[in-house]
């Protein structure tokens, strides 16, 4: 009897396990990583905004306000562009610390965690976001 109940509970509990509780605004960047055999990058907005204002990256360094919209390669970063402006071993850790940035679950799609488009807009394929290749960007007519 008790074991039956436990079985039922475990079966019901399974869908809840594995749900992501990551920080609002954590960005997963997977433009090239998976194709190159690396884990995707997690960019935690909260960590960076404690230390720098939005303007530093989004105006001075040229990061667009769009997840996956910045087509940076490791070459760019090593040359001091994008993340490499700080991640150079002087302001923040140097690019040879691969697994500190490339720390997302393998094959996770590019996304802004907890964003409206992730939580409210129904994915076109009906697949959960993490299983999708990349959700097509919706266009709004003016």
């Amino acid at each position: 009897m008790a074991s039956f109940l436990i079985l039922v509970m475990i079966t019901l509990g399974v869908p809840m396990i594995g749900k992501a509780y990551a920080e609002y605004a954590d960005v997963v960047i997977n433009n090239f990583s998976s194709a190159e055999g690396m884990r995707p990058v997690v960019f935690p907005h909260w960590f960076h905004r404690v230390r720098f204002r939005c303007k530093v990256c989004h105006a001075d360094l040229g990061f667009k306000f769009e997840a996956g919209g910045n087509q940076m390669r490791m070459v760019n970063i090593i040359e001091g562009e994008y993340c490499g402006a700080c991640h150079n071993g002087e302001i923040a850790w140097a690019p040879e610390n691969c697994d500190l940035c490339h720390s997302a679950k393998p094959n996770l799609a590019t996304q802004v965690h907890g964003s409206t488009s992730q939580t409210l807009v129904t994915p076109v394929t009906g697949q959960p976001m993490e299983k999708q290749e990349r959700a097509p960007k919706a266009k709004v007519l003016e």
């Binding site: 009897m1 074991s3 109940l5 396990i17 509780y21 920080e23 105006a59 996770l108 965690h113 488009s117």
Partner: protein, 216 residues
């Protein structure tokens, strides 16, 4: 007796299905109380750890699941060594002003109260932003209160070029904004609903009371 219990538990499960995890302990305890433990039964399997449920509303996220450390947050890979070297958010958020949405930090108040002093310039720790104290009122056509857009908290984080002219034309009446556009990530939705506070907080923007309409 056994059939009755099975039916009862099935009914309970049907009613409380999404909340079942929280009650798992209680129900198992109740079941144990009602059914005498048979000798020689194999020990119950170890229960799978489940996330607790919000007691106010089971569909809402429980407080204890806010700001989890990277290995438990569901997007970082716990199989990656570097994941364990990253700073857990709660360690940083301790003294910050709390809020009920987003990542549960009121970033504007946290900055205003001096709990953080993020750099305005990548290299110069003394550089200060040019704060523009200009409020814009947008009259809303629907029944929602009008929108008051304050430049001040925005210019403490951003510079003019971030929004003008690519997102907003700096001229009254030139910007057509709709909630549909914002929800799809355009206009205010470029930041709000992604990184700045989410669009579920209607009254943070729609903050001006409408004047009563008289029939005369």
């Amino acid at each position: 007796m056994k059939t009755v219990m099975v039916m009862l538990s099935a009914a309970l499960v049907a009613v409380f299905a999404p909340a079942a995890q929280a009650q798992q302990g209680d129900q198992v305890a109740a079941a144990a109380k009602n059914t005498p433990v048979t000798q020689g039964q194999p020990p119950a399997k170890e229960q799978t750890p489940v996330k607790p449920v919000n007691p106010f509303n089971r569909l809402m996220q429980d407080k204890s699941t806010f700001n989890p450390p990277p290995p438990e947050d569901g997007i970082h890979d716990p199989g990656n060594e570097g994941t364990f070297l990253l700073q857990p958010p709660r360690e940083a958020f301790g003294a910050f002003v709390k809020s009920n949405f987003g990542n549960r930090v009121d970033w504007v108040k946290t900055l205003d109260e001096g709990k953080i002093n993020p750099r305005w310039d990548r290299l110069d720790p003394k550089a200060e932003p040019d704060v523009l104290d200009l409020n814009i009122v947008r009259v809303v056509r629907g029944s929602m209160p009008d929108v008051l857009y304050p430049h001040a908290p925005h210019t403490k984080w951003l510079t003019c070029e971030n929004c003008h002219d690519a997102i907003f034309v700096p001229e009254a009446g030139k910007n057509q904004i709709s909630m549909a556009a914002i929800l799809m990530g355009e206009k205010c939705g470029v930041c709000h609903g992604k990184v700045a506070f989410p669009v579920t907080e209607c009254r943070k923007c729609h903050s001006l009371k409408k004047e009563a309409v008289s029939k005369n």
